[in-house]
Symmetry: C2
Subunit: 463 residues, 2 copies
Amino acid sequence: MNLTNIRDIFRNKEEYYDQKITIGGWVRSNRNLKNFGFIVLNDGTFFEPIQVVYGNGIENYEEVEKVNVGAALVVTGVLVPTPEAKQPFELQAETIEIEGASTPDYPLQKKRHTMEYLRTISHLRPRTNTFEAVFRVRSLCAYAIHKFFQERGFVYVHTPLITGSDAEGAGEMFQVTTLDLNDVPKTEDGKVDYSKDFFSKPANLTVSGQLNGETYAMAFKNIYTFGPTFRAEDSNTTRHAAEFWMIEPEIAFADLEDDMILAESMLKYVINYVLENAPEEMQFFNKFIDKGLLERLNNVVSNDFARVTYTEAVEILKKHNDKFEYKVEWGCDLQTEHERFLTEQIYKRPVFVTDYPKDIKAFYMKLNDDNKTVAAVDCLVPGIGEIIGGSQREDDYDKLITRMKELGLNEETYKFYLDLRKYGTARHAGFGLGFERCVMYLTGMGNIRDVIPFPRTVNNCEL
Amino acid sequence: MNLTNIRDIFRNKEEYYDQKITIGGWVRSNRNLKNFGFIVLNDGTFFEPIQVVYGNGIENYEEVEKVNVGAALVVTGVLVPTPEAKQPFELQAETIEIEGASTPDYPLQKKRHTMEYLRTISHLRPRTNTFEAVFRVRSLCAYAIHKFFQERGFVYVHTPLITGSDAEGAGEMFQVTTLDLNDVPKTEDGKVDYSKDFFSKPANLTVSGQLNGETYAMAFKNIYTFGPTFRAEDSNTTRHAAEFWMIEPEIAFADLEDDMILAESMLKYVINYVLENAPEEMQFFNKFIDKGLLERLNNVVSNDFARVTYTEAVEILKKHNDKFEYKVEWGCDLQTEHERFLTEQIYKRPVFVTDYPKDIKAFYMKLNDDNKTVAAVDCLVPGIGEIIGGSQREDDYDKLITRMKELGLNEETYKFYLDLRKYGTARHAGFGLGFERCVMYLTGMGNIRDVIPFPRTVNNCEL
């Protein structure tokens, strides 16, 4: 069908004035007076809908008069500027074809619905203003990330979702199997007979593509992953989902400083891209979802991020221990309350906290010369807390294996990872950005369930 | 570190001539004569490596002389044009820092390795020419797909990986669980007690995001998905993997014709993008992997795709039944041998086959007026066979529910899907492109295991 997108009409309106055009979309409202009526039609290509005016001259006037909210229409008419009205133009209908009717009990009537209610109709909620805006921004944000890395020559790597590397954090992993759970095959000694499973061994859903990503960074120098990750955490919060997307760049011949420069440029790039490409949506969020949003984001793109070491940060925070539920002392992991205090109260902008105690960080992080801290970095942003976590990786074979032994990790499992330190090791670093957290940050939405099309959380796996 | 990428040097060589630069990369070969030597260094940013010349004037000459293949070096020197030599320039080293040594038993010596051997070292194979080329093209191909859809205003939707919609094809699905397989909790009547599982019900890995995608197309008009899909098929072929990526666009107010136009423009766009952005890699494939590749791809981008109905195609194929293992007759599903015959022998270019018998196609495809066929389309390409499968969707509530009943599908499970036909249904269509098949098509690689960084197949889930 040869339809004009409402986005094109808004963006190039002069070209369309007094032209006959055809659009297709869904009715947001239908209001009629005696001999004419107004339909507000949205086609999903643009945040603003278009106003269609129809008179009793059209063939099926009596049918159109009764059209319910939610119906799909194909409208042909002339676009006319309306300088005296609120909207810039209207479409004066010549024909209105009812592509698909709706019913008076359409679940999205023209009124405010609660987020909780809308979560129960995840297949219809993108038809509301809020979710249309959220999911367009999510799409633009994803593209901005690809664009950023591709323009810099990074290679996009699809790391595997199903992983056979066992143990380590298995408690929070989903198991993947083709065994019949009603009748699990057992070996003679009564254990699960994994030789009968699809991969002939236990398999899980990945919690991170980083280790695989590192192998590609040691070939392509600069790579990034962007894919789903899974966490079987039994926590029912506004910030956790069982299935979410992560971006994990990895850069070789690079240290923690390079890593921070990359993270800062990426965040600024993504914010700028969304501000430029979704101005209507961002105005909407600023007005209805989070009043300080635009000021905060503009502040982020126009200032350098602050830098502080973990040790310095602890000193600062300890002075405010009376304000915290969890008191801060050296060696403790920073909680969201501490992170937000640092970025919101102390620095009033994003801040990189570096060089954490090795005992609260992962085995693969590069040990600093003090033997106590590692070259880790968290990026904290106002309103959220940690949005990015990264590190320089331990590239020294001996140090890595010492640390693995301390933690009781199985060398055989990590043979491939150790190989990278054996054959042409190079300093390298990377970070992980939780994509949903990034979308929440950009939109001001407060619940992760509202930035994922079909969220998966404990006890919830609908559609 | 302030390093220059080898890609920049090749692409803007004039700017770098007689300049002092620093590069980092991995040794492909090290050949030395008495007082000087040549190192071929690749940094993964460009298909071609750079030649480094070093003389015994450098500080650590004796060490550098002995550097093994695979070592990581940081080289500072002056770039000098070499008009008389095979390579356009060389880097005359002033300092060579050994970032990370390698060993004489480095698994990738400068010789030909079999694909089978390289599959056993999936963490190192991207350091070879073939896999460097494959995985850069894979990355560019992914980006081209995003670029194509985003430039046209399509919204990128992340459909869920873990799905609770049961039954239908469950035999080929992976189950996702947090139950302990050694001790599966049972209800009183002896069945698995899913109330104890993470989602309180059985969950699987998705085989397609289409149905979810449709819900978003009915809000945004034009959407696409690009994410992993899973098939627990016990088939050990060169074309099947248990985990692969799919692209599934869905367009509203659109029919099968619009669908074919979209598929054809997308394929041409992606091919053109890769030809333009990876000319060296494509020359390599054409020379060493698949001699007819470039001719075939150029042929595709410069010709219209052919069109034929299934019924016509069957008539054509029946005349050649002597050539086929499986004889063709109306009603049968086309096999790869038939598909390839059509596209390679009959049309000698890509061909869309439309309007298949309803009995061999999915329940959601739009029934044609003949009541026998559905508005389905497969796109067949030379060298591969089917690369895209799509259809116009049944948008009529009554017809859809009739078909679902015929096939014994559970209405309750598909309530959300039926809702789309109840509230503002609109004609719509979409297709699925198997991403790996697309990469195989673009590179000429013959085995799906060689276009996936860490492939998952029956009995194989390494790293």
